[in-house]
Symmetry: C2
Subunit: 347 residues, 2 copies
């Protein structure tokens, strides 16, 4: 028989659309989608083109996952916890209140079984998903007045959503769902008393410091939330294997890149905000502990009703216990020592 001649195979030309859950003005988190597209475009010599659309250009930001499930777009860049209204299991793919920090989140996703567990769940939603960004621990938000005791939380109207909102409501807070652009006027007019957004670099753009100067930390509901790509399952499986791999590698690189970007920009932004009048305040231990205790109750309630959430929550919890033991040793003591030098002016 004749040997089949080697035929030069061109890289398959593919154009996809990615809908972002973020506006272009949030350049760091929106930029994560652009970063993935760039990495994929360059490594495929322009043959695998991902067009990135800001929230609202194709579908609203919070409908990104639906657009992927239905095949309206091939993929999206979003935060999985946006979809806890469909199923609280989504939160496990991003962050739960009093969950893992950013590094622990990556450890759990890539080595603790998180990516596989989430994909068992995502498969039921019609897509595959991979970590593709992280903001680091977020701030606790902007408030018109100081919050000192649990009594100060009662009746507080705060812009906060999802599981964190459920927990806050157990403390007497009245959670409000308000779109980004409406937060400032609501705070200004006193329609709400406080609002959480992201962290210094993103918050600065919305100007909250002028109308609600008490800037609290930490955002205990987001210790290190994962931003993810969701990819329509059929479309992903139809990709050449090389493009599947490239997309996953690009997502992991973008995960690293976004955290680095926030970690570089936030230190500068917090200094500007303080200069502009932000009054930094830590949530009191009383408020933190009551929130934590309420969170455990909420997780118990969700787990009792939702086997998918429970399975993943329990898996992550086992790792969390070990991770926060280990974190006390070289990481914490090294950071603590360096922070003391910073405070002493010897850095």
């Amino acid at each position: 028989t004749l040997a089949a001649p080697a035929i030069a195979q061109e890289n398959k030309k593919i154009t996809w659309r990615l809908t972002s859950s973020f506006p272009k003005s949030l350049d760091t988190i929106y930029g994560g989608g652009e970063t993935i597209a760039k990495y994929v475009r360059e490594a495929s010599d322009g043959n695998f083109e991902i067009q990135v659309f800001a929230a609202g250009e194709i579908v609203p930001g919070l409908q990104a996952a639906d657009a992927v499930s239905s095949g309206t777009v091939e993929m999206c860049h979003t935060v999985p916890y946006y979809y806890v209204g469909k199923d609280p299991t989504y939160a496990m793919g991003a962050a739960i209140p009093f969950g893992l920090n950013a590094r622990q989140t990556n450890a759990w996703h890539y080595y603790g079984g998180g990516v596989d567990l989430m994909n068992e769940f995502y498969a039921t939603q019609g897509f595959v998903g991979f970590p593709a960004g992280n903001t680091g621990a977020q701030m606790g938000g902007w408030f018109r007045k100081e919050l000192k005791t649990l009594d100060d939380m009662k009746g507080l109207k705060m812009r906060i959503a999802g599981i964190a909102g459920q927990i806050m409501s157990k403390l007497g807070v009245v959670p409000q769902q308000i779109a980004g652009g409406d937060i400032y006027p609501s705070l200004e007019k006193g329609v709400i008393d406080g609002a959480e957004w992201v962290g210094p670099y993103d918050d600065e753009k919305l100007g909250f410091v002028k109308v609600a100067p008490y800037y609290y930390y930490p955002g205990w509901w987001e210790g290190g939330p994962t931003v993810a790509v969701f990819i329509n399952k059929d479309k992903f499986e139809a990709l050449p294997k090389s493009y599947q791999s490239l997309l996953k590698t690009a997502a992991q690189a973008a995960n690293c890149d976004m955290l680095a970007s926030y970690d570089y920009k936030n230190p500068q932004a917090i200094k500007r905000l303080v200069k502009d009048g932000a009054k930094l305040r830590a949530f009191s231990q009383e408020i933190m502990q009551a929130s934590y205790d309420a969170a455990l109750g909420v997780y118990g309630d969700i787990s009792a009703k939702n086997a998918s959430f429970k399975k993943i929550y329990d898996n992550q919890l086992a790792f969390k216990r070990d991770a926060y033991l280990w974190a006390q040793l070289p990481e914490y003591t090294f950071d603590t020592f360096m922070m003391i030098q910073q405070r002493n002016g010897t850095l």
Copy 2:
């Protein structure tokens, strides 16, 4: 004129050799080289093949950079500070004592100008370099006796190299350079009093707990060292642009991946080590502060003699001051709260 017909272009078939500075037994750090090779192989459909060789298979681990400069191999996977004997500027590409933690290191490399600054220097050495792994903050090493005061450091024979060795010697420590495989017998016989290696997962394999049970933290000389790829400059520039980009993306993904791997494995390893008799001890504030003060002196001395080091050190220092201010807010307070829950048994 006739339009030129489209000609299917095959991905260029390339085979490279990567020499690792690590033995296969250090599976996580050695594995970073394999991870890059896998990501590149898969995304290029097997056309860009990087063969990974363990330390000693082509050249000894500490000669990896030379092998790249000379073109013996196309690339290596190594820790830049191994080459401080050639030029202390190398240390800035990995970690300096009392430097940045792992996340800050990435922020500085990718957004603070670190990658570009280091590549100005690497160009003088004949290669390009990119971050491609991180161990996180390391442990401070294993000691036969407790170290309580500065007096306990005087005359202490410790296996420690590079700039950290210089700093230690200012405290009266006698730094020793000993290859990995020789550390255990040296500790056992009392030829040395202590030795630093990496962290629980790697240290466990060498069995130090049996002969030097006092396990100190933090390894203040490695708050988050970057493991890097060095690539021969001419070979890199001769690559197709798509392969250049793929290699950089794969290195950034591998950077994320290695840290996640250590962050998953170390918590388990530290529990096993404690069960096996490791006695965990924090370096005293007295020892830490004296080491820090000595470090500042060493950096002053190096900067006075080496403009390349000084330029990069000064750039990183400006970021470090801001980064350790910001780190005190949501990251530190979130982690602290979670660690308190861990200690209270409420996690």
